[in-house]
């Protein structure tokens, strides 16, 4: 990695969720830079901007206005420029259909938003630090959905 910190981007229309997300990373003792966007369109504008330094991981909420998570995922996977970015789905939904769809479209991991802040911290830590390599290398559907 060319930076000594991990670049993390989140696209989520829910203000509270963005707050939890940034709070969790603040409390984690990991060197990260977190960017958040209110919807998919803002995220894509950011990614497509020529001066943008591309993030290492993008967290995508599925239900977003204007451009939703699935559409973002498709666009990102379409563009060769973004092929090294890991995609984590970050959603309230745990429907089989959403999990299946995002897996097929090439997301790297599926996280169901927990209802406990400590759990959230644990998951995000796992994703960023511990399990990341494992998930990107031996990707299969069994370990796609991250359960804690």
């Amino acid at each position: 990695m060319q930076h000594d910190y991990i670049l993390i981007t989140l696209a989520d229309d829910d203000e509270d969720d963005r707050l939890f997300f940034t709070d969790a990373f603040d409390e984690l003792k990991v060197n990260t830079v977190v960017n958040t966007f209110k919807n998919g369109l803002e995220l894509m504008d950011f990614l497509n901007h020529s001066e943008t330094v591309l993030p290492n991981i993008i967290f995508l909420d599925l239900n977003m206005p204007i451009l939703n998570g699935i559409e973002c995922l498709k666009e990102i996977k379409k563009n060769d420029k973004f092929k090294d970015i890991a995609i984590a789905i970050y959603s309230t939904s745990s429907s089989e259909q959403d999990i299946e769809n995002t897996f097929v479209l090439g997301a790297n991991i599926y996280i169901k938003k927990p209802s406990d802040f400590n759990e959230l911290k644990k998951i995000l830590a796992d994703v960023v630090i511990i399990n990341w390599q494992y998930h990107t290398n031996g990707l299969n559907k069994d370990n796609f959905l991250l359960r804690l």
Binding site: D14, N63, T92, S95, P114, S115, D116, N118
Partner: protein
């Protein structure tokens, strides 16, 4: 049925032909016999006549002998007259005999011989009649010699005559024998032939009667089915028609007229008359149909509208098929039914279906709302609670901590409820196809899932070897987990919870709950626990959604778990029953069809 009738008719024809032939033969034989009998009696008569005439001849010869002797003795010429008459009679009789025996050469020969003898003798006799009065017969040697000679000739005549009579009698004998044998044969032959004919006729009569009975039975059946179809036509609003392709005439059933809204047979059935009832927009179509029937000798399902005399527009359907009878008549037999009501019902049903689909869609949307949108704020409430618990607990008073804990409980309960409800609604949809499912694996998965709970309660779980069945695996898993966690939840605090899982394959009629399903086979899986049990009168109620027998504070639960179990059993076309005794434990029995 048709073949049978044909066969019996064929039999009848043969029997009558044979009978006729036999009667003809009997007739011919009888005539022949009568002819030969009359011929025989003619011959008999003939023999008698010949014999009689021979006797006559002899007696005339004898009479002439007597007369001549009288003359010789008395010399009275009065005796000469009868003598001459007798000679004439002899000649006459001889002629008659010659006539009678002309068909027999043997007798003719005998007659010739006889003629010579008689002639010779007559010459002697005639010479006697020429003697005058003074001729002394006692002195004349020639006379004596002649007289003696003529006496010998008379004896010869007698012998010859007897010979001839014997011949005739032998003829008679022969003829009598022939006659008798014919007389004897004739009645036997005639009788036996007549008897045979009688037998054939009786057989034919028996067959005919049988056929008539059969025909009557068929006729009865036909009448019955005719009556039934008449009723059916009225009840089901259809009429039948019969279009003869050879004559192009149509015959219609009464109900077809009723469908058209007119009295039965109130007009002559014809294409032209029918077109009067057709909806103007459909007339070209129906005209085409008529042409097509004749061309194709078939009428596929055709729909068109009619207008009744009272103005009501009805939708009808017509269909017809070619029928060829024994005589080769080609007719199209068809059915026309009024399907207006049927169509209306279908339309109504389709409407309802659409409505139902709309409702299902709404329900799905609701599910989505429940699964996503309702959970979202709840999740945040819970996350905020966890944040306060972590960061701000020391700043709260005891009350604050107490209330926060209650808020947390309520939020957790809300989450459980939403999750259970979602599970229930997902269970409602048996969208997945059945798979071969090993229930032992399912049970193991459930035990793993509940391992913490089992360990906490120190429960003992015994189970038999379970079958492999066709099921929806995740629903079966849910069923097993729910059954086990239910037993664990309502276990007694005072004793070790024991859960027995047993399995047998049963026939429905042997199970009190399933008697009405007869011979059907079911997998029977029972979950028996030694928990707190419940009053048997609540056995049905516990499977209802949100139904709970206990307070929330004693045993937490949403009242959805057993409702899900029931739904799963029903999704598999199975059943679930509960048997329980308060304080002794419960048995849950699941039946899944084999």
């Amino acid at each position: 049925m048709k073949n049978l009738k044909l066969k019996s008719t064929f039999y009848h024809k043969i029997i009558f032909a044979i009978s006729l032939l036999i009667l003809l033969v009997v007739g011919v034989i009888t005539i022949k016999h009568i002819n030969s009998i009359s011929a025989s009696s003619k011959l008999l008569m003939h023999t008698y006549e010949v014999n009689l005439e021979l006797e006559h001849l002899y007696s005339y010869i004898k009479d002439s002998e007597n007369s001549i002797r009288g003359y010789l003795i008395s010399r009275d010429t009065v005796y000469l007259k009868p003598y001459r008459d007798d000679i004439k009679q002899v000649n006459k009789s001889f002629e008659l005999l010659q006539e009678l025996t002309k068909d027999s050469p043997k007798q003719q020969k005998n007659l010739d011989f006889l003629y010579k003898i008689i002639n010779t003798r007559n010459l002697y006799m005639s010479s006697y009649s020429n003697f005058n009065n003074n001729f002394d017969v006692t002195q004349n040697i020639t006379f004596k010699k002649n007289f003696n000679e003529s006496g010998l000739l008379l004896a010869a005549i007698r012998i010859k005559l007897n010979e001839m009579v014997t011949i005739e009698e032998s003829f008679l004998k022969q003829r009598n024998f022939n006659y008798n044998s014919q007389i004897y044969l004739t009645p036997i032959l005639t009788l036996s032939i007549l008897f045979l004919t009688l037998l054939l006729l009786v057989f034919a009569y028996y067959q005919t009667t049988k056929d008539v009975e059969k025909l009557q039975a068929y006729n009865f059946k036909l009448n019955k089915s005719h009556f039934l179809s008449y009723q059916a036509e009225i009840l089901s609003e259809f009429g039948t028609w019969d279009l003869n392709l050879n004559t192009n005439t149509i015959v219609c059933s009464d109900n077809l007229y009723r469908i058209l809204g007119v009295a039965p047979q109130s007009f002559q059935a014809s294409q032209k008359n029918f077109l009067k009832f057709i909806h103007p927009e459909d007339i070209p179509f129906v005209t085409r149909i008529f042409d097509k029937i004749v061309a194709d000798e078939n009428l596929p399902n055709s729909y068109f509208r009619i207008i009744k005399p009272d103005g009501a527009v009805r939708l009808v359907r017509s269909v017809g098929k070619l029928f060829v009878d024994q005589l080769g008549n080609r007719t199209i037999l068809g059915v026309t039914s009024d399907i207006t009501n049927e169509r209306r019902k279908t339309e109504l049903l389709e409407e309802r279906n659409q409505e139902l689909e709309q409702r299902i869609k709404e329900l799905n949307e609701f599910n989505h709302v429940a699964s996503h949108d309702l959970q979202e704020p709840l999740r945040k409430i819970q996350t905020f609670i966890s944040r306060i618990n972590e960061k701000e607990k020391e700043n709260l008073s005891n009350f604050g901590i107490e209330y926060l804990s209650r808020i947390e409980n309520a939020a957790n309960r809300m989450r459980t409820l939403i999750n259970d409800l979602l599970q229930y609604s997902r269970t409602s949809r048996p969208e997945k196809n059945l798979e071969i499912t090993d229930l032992n694996e399912i049970l193991n998965d459930s035990l793993t899932e509940l391992s913490q709970n089992i360990e906490n309660k120190k429960a003992i779980i015994n189970h038999e070897i379970l079958p492999t069945i066709e099921a929806i695996p995740f629903q079966m898993q849910q069923l097993f987990s729910n059954m086990l966690s239910n037993s664990l939840k309502y276990s007694k605090l005072t004793s070790t919870p024991v859960i027995d899982i047993n399995y047998t394959e049963i026939t429905a009629k042997n199970e009190p709950h399933l008697v009405e399903y007869g011979q059907k086979k079911y997998h029977k899986i029972t979950f028996t626990d030694n928990g707190i049990g419940f009053n048997q009168e609540h056995a049905d109620k516990i499977f209802l959604l949100f139904n709970r027998l206990h307070g929330k504070s004693e045993y937490n639960g949403t009242g959805v778990g057993l409702a899900i179990c029931k739904k799963i059993a029903e999704n598999h076309k199975g059943f679930i029953f509960a048997d329980s005794k308060l304080d002794e434990g419960s048995t849950f029995t699941v039946f899944i069809p084999v």
